[in-house]
Amino acid sequence: MMNSRFFVPLSCVIIFSALVGIGFIIPQWAMFLATMALAKGLVALGIVILMRAGLVSFGQGLYFCIGAYVSGLMANWTGITDIILLSILGILVSVILATVCAKLLSGYRGIFFAMLTLSLSMILYGALSKMSMIGGTDGLNVSAPTFLGFAPEGRALGFSLYFYTCLVSVIAGGFIRVYFNSERGLTALAIRDNELRVEYLGSSVKSAISAGYIMAAAVGGLGGVIAGLAIGHVDPEYAYWTTSGEFVFVAILSGFFSITAVFASSIVLEIVRSFSNLYFPNTWQLVLGVFLLIVILLLPNGLGSLFNKLRRRGDSE
């Protein structure tokens, strides 16, 4: 077995190099697609964090939306366009809001948790739709980002965004992998199985769930910042429940064993979406629904379980 201390950073470096390498050869539309897929993958990763504790959030669109609005409003109000600063702000706002929401949400389980997260997201949707000073239902445009003073345009902008997205996705993924492997990470899995027991072992289930929810909000906000900058526009739809539904879809598709699988699933979904938009414009949801049913039926633990099986087979040989 490989020394686990170096395993995570090493995998991160390898994956990052591979992603950037791919960026040099793929066309611009594919780069945009990959940027969006990774950004949304970050949000889905948040759901996966919660899934490990047995919860599904049907409202991660809330943080996706907040991140995107932060990137849009900051440029308009303060002229900040630096992507790193915007990311930090987006994460910060998300984390602060999540800390408040977590107090309420950590007492709920199962369907109640799902519906409450959904309703929080829909409250934001409703509020933003009515706020005409920031665009109402039309939303607002987001200025192109700068990168530590560097202001690229055209293909360079697309590539810079892609590069940045790969970087933060890999870093976030690495940290979350470390968390999954940690003592707290194992406790989360135990909560999924038997919350009562965990409480009787002296661990606080509520604080574990709050921690997971706040982490999920952080990556959700980060994903939102990137998506807003990549699209160049943000509107309340980011917080609509069907947007959150797609994140849940990615999380279910990937399962909660592998972080790579989350991003891979997100990429698969974006590719399927592009092709159905092109060839079957009216049956995108049909494709998505059938796909979802097949995954649930055939891969109850998601794509990640396939990865794990392969890895285990590799280990035993």
């Binding site: 309420l104 109640f112 009216n282 049956t283 949801q285 049909l286 629904g289 979802l292 049913l293 649930i296």
Partner: protein, 300 residues
Amino acid sequence: MDLLAVILVDGLIYGAWLFIVSVGLTLTFGVLNILNMAHGGLYAIGAYTTATAVGIYFANGGDAFPLGSYAVMVFAALLVAVVLGPLLERGLLRHFYDRDHVVIVLVTYGIFLILEDVMKLIWGVTPLFVSEPYSLLGNVEMGPLFYVTYDFLVIGVAIVAGLIVWYVLNRTRQGKVVLAVIHDREMSRTMGVNVNKVFMVSFMAGVFLAALGGALTAPMISVSPGISVNVIILAFAVVIIGGLGSIEGAAIGALFVGIARAASVHMLPAAELFIIYLVMAAVLVFRPEGLFPKTEARKI
């Protein structure tokens, strides 16, 4: 007519409509333990089927007896229930009964997505209008305001539907069997209850109620893609406020939300879009399992 009365009447009308579109959801949850996201899709299919059926009715001499269109509406809802109920429950859902709650929600979410596009394939994307049944009964004058009589018909249907569901569950032999299944599935099975049949019939009843909601709504709106999306979230909010699986809860939840929305429309229009979620969040804060929660047995 003062504002309070207006809010009450509007709230009652809206609440009645909410009850009809959500009672099937709570019934399905109560019996099968499934929170059916496809409920909104079934509602929309009810609306589309009604639009088509009523259209055919009037195109074929229905004008001679326009009230017959109401029977056509109910028939359309029945048709949806008889066709789709067994198909979805026997064909799909039963394979997931032993899985986690949330997984089944996702399965029904998948069904919801599929139904969305199936509707587009069948009925296209151009809106359908069947307003005849809506205007048929004329208006009612209340003070300075006019109400469409049909709106009161909706209240009537809500009351009748609620009473029937309550009566069947609590006062008939078959209803007692269903209650037994709700209480203890395994025990009922060993006592010789055909649980599969109870599931299928209950699910069909849920589909019928969803489709009936759509059928009643079709004359009031333009039937177009996307009507399902909002309804499902409204219905969810109502049954969660009421306590999942509780018929009385759904009634009170619907009334709650109906009046809250009417109040917001008249007093705080900016909040109209999210008042329902505020109500839901507020109720859950004080009653974490809704107003009429199911009781749970001791775990250890």
